[in-house]
Subunit: 349 residues, 2 copies
């Protein structure tokens, strides 16, 4: 005999992203702000002047991608258990992408899921991690290999935090904006070629456009079965670069910038992009001091590392290659020899 368990439901995970100075808020519940010592030192006073709670706790985890691991998750959970957080309690992710990913993941597994909101403090996390619901941690096998799809209840992007952002981190955020324009928005790409993101108004508009573009893509494909994979443009290569350099040499956005150049070379080799278009994209990356070259020591090893990446499946890797500027192709049918020949252009010389 058979019993059907019917679980077809309308689930509303919608939320608002506010791009503005945070308004004062009080939460009538237990709230923990999860952050790192650096962000806390720079900006916690500002956040605490805006946000209060019935019971407020601050949890800091070590700063850096190398601490985006199970030990940090344990540290967060331990603190929540210690202070008897319950299903109605809430977390606030206060920092960059690493803090956002870990806080979201901790929220998703604490007592099978509690609310969290995001206050991203870097340009990268504002335009990227604030939309999409990807949470998780790294491990010895690679990046983001453990995690959950879990949406925040709200995101507050306050331009205030960008005032202290180092130049390199600013550039890393710009790389994600450029990524979005190349794959989905030719007009905005051409606008960026002329405009300057150091102009506050231009920047706020760019954040909005990037967030809206990503939101459109994610709304169509929340769990990355198809279109959403296009957001990985530059990431397939970028992740390998981060892996090879132990996440120490490049900021995520910088690795993505190099990855974008590699994906473009692949597109050129496939006849999908002109060399001139690839050069325009490289120019825009360089305008924000982003790295566009990388010395691959072992081409075969680089290629092998693709298969550890979570976006790869049994015997193929999914490549995101732009079609000119403003278009994108998602394919796992890229010839190995073609990729190796592209990679060998980046080989040691």
């Amino acid at each position: 005999m058979q019993v059907n368990i019917p679980l077809k439901q309308v689930i509303d995970n919608s939320y608002d992203i506010t791009i503005d100075t945070i308004e004062k808020k009080h939460f009538d519940k237990k709230v923990a702000i999860v952050t790192n010592p650096k962000v806390a030192g720079l900006h916690l006073a500002y956040l605490l002047s805006k946000i209060s709670a019935k019971e407020l706790y601050i949890i800091t985890v070590p700063d850096g991608e190398e601490y985006k691991n199970q030990a940090s998750i344990d540290l967060i959970l331990e603190s929540l258990f210690n202070h008897r957080f319950n299903r109605k309690s809430m977390l606030i992710a206060f920092g960059g992408g690493v803090i956002g990913d870990m806080t979201g993941y901790a929220a998703s597994i604490y007592q099978r899921g509690i609310d969290f909101i995001q206050v991203p403090t870097t340009l990268l996390s504002q335009v990227d991690a604030s939309v999409g619901g990807k949470t998780g941690i790294n491990n010895a096998y690679g990046k983001n290999l453990i995690g959950a799809f879990y949406q925040p209840k709200a995101v507050y992007i306050d331009p205030h935090f960008l005032s202290t952002l180092p130049k390199r981190e600013f550039g890393a955020g710009v790389a994600e904006i450029i990524k979005m324009t190349v794959t989905f928005n030719k007009d905005f790409f051409e606008f960026l070629e002329k405009a300057d993101l150091h102009d506050k108004k231009v920047l706020q508009e760019a954040i909005k456009q990037a967030v809206e573009t990503k939101a459109e893509v994610v709304a169509k494909d929340e769990k990355e079965h198809g279109l959403r994979a296009a957001l990985n443009y530059g990431h397939t290569f970028g992740h390998v670069i981060e892996n090879e350099t132990n996440y120490k040499t490049y900021l995520h956005g910088e690795a993505v910038a190099i990855g974008i150049v590699m994906a473009n070379e692949t597109a050129v080799a496939m006849g999908l992009m002109s060399e001139e278009e690839a050069q325009r994209i490289k120019n825009l990356l360089q305008k924000y001091n982003l790295p566009t070259s990388y010395v691959i020591k072992d081409v075969n090893n680089f290629y092998e590392t693709f298969f550890l990446d979570k976006k790869s499946s049994d015997a193929s890797v999914t490549f995101i290659v732009p079609i000119g500027i403003g278009g994108v192709k998602i394919t796992d049918a890229v010839d190995k020899e073609l990729i190796l020949s592209v990679l060998s252009k980046f080989g040691e010389n």
Copy 2:
């Protein structure tokens, strides 16, 4: 400015539970059967005569509730990474509730979620863990405090596995069936008072009824915001008992049996149940050799432990008290003194 991220979606997590001899199946993908040494020794040969895969792996984790922890999850994940499982790969939970909860949780966080199916081998996991999507692990603070809501793709309940089930474990499963009838199905309770679950036909019907009843409740309230809490009848007390005895003295279903008696005493004290009804339930539990008494050494300590339980919120505990037989009340407004006086009946004497 504000951007809305629209994520209102129809999500279909429906699946079938088959209560019958498993039919032969081949999966054209990587599959890992997660089990423990004991179940594997008794029944793996049988399962492997039914199930094959393109690439098949067996992962065993230590047997017992005390190993339902992060270390076992790490062991499972490590093996999946090792063998390069990807998003299209699948897990099979093969064992009792502990195996089901851990395998489901591992599936939920591996690369942000892969498929899993359940082949429960104990009566308890067949009637209880097979419906509801609760997955997770224990930690130093208590039971199931870390986890996710994650549904299997299918459940296969094969009566074959019950043939080797020890008497105590059989009883533990019966406790969950009795739980379901007291709260939701008076007719079936009265049927059980006369029938014998050792009769195969009666048992299969009972499994079906229990699974259907739970499915109805879960479909109405997947994430336990209301009605579903009623399934915790006997569990609020039972969890404390398991906690106090370090999960060593009682099987889960046995602790629930005692918890049912305690919940009934609470109902009697609240005037919701007659002493005669409480006695009938106790009789039915005893018919299957289930424990119905427990010596509470420290009533206040017992009470305090309620608040660590994940079902409790800020300053209250949710109690599930039956209204006679076939009805149930979910309330967090039970007077502390009343509970203490009920508990003191179980005090050391």
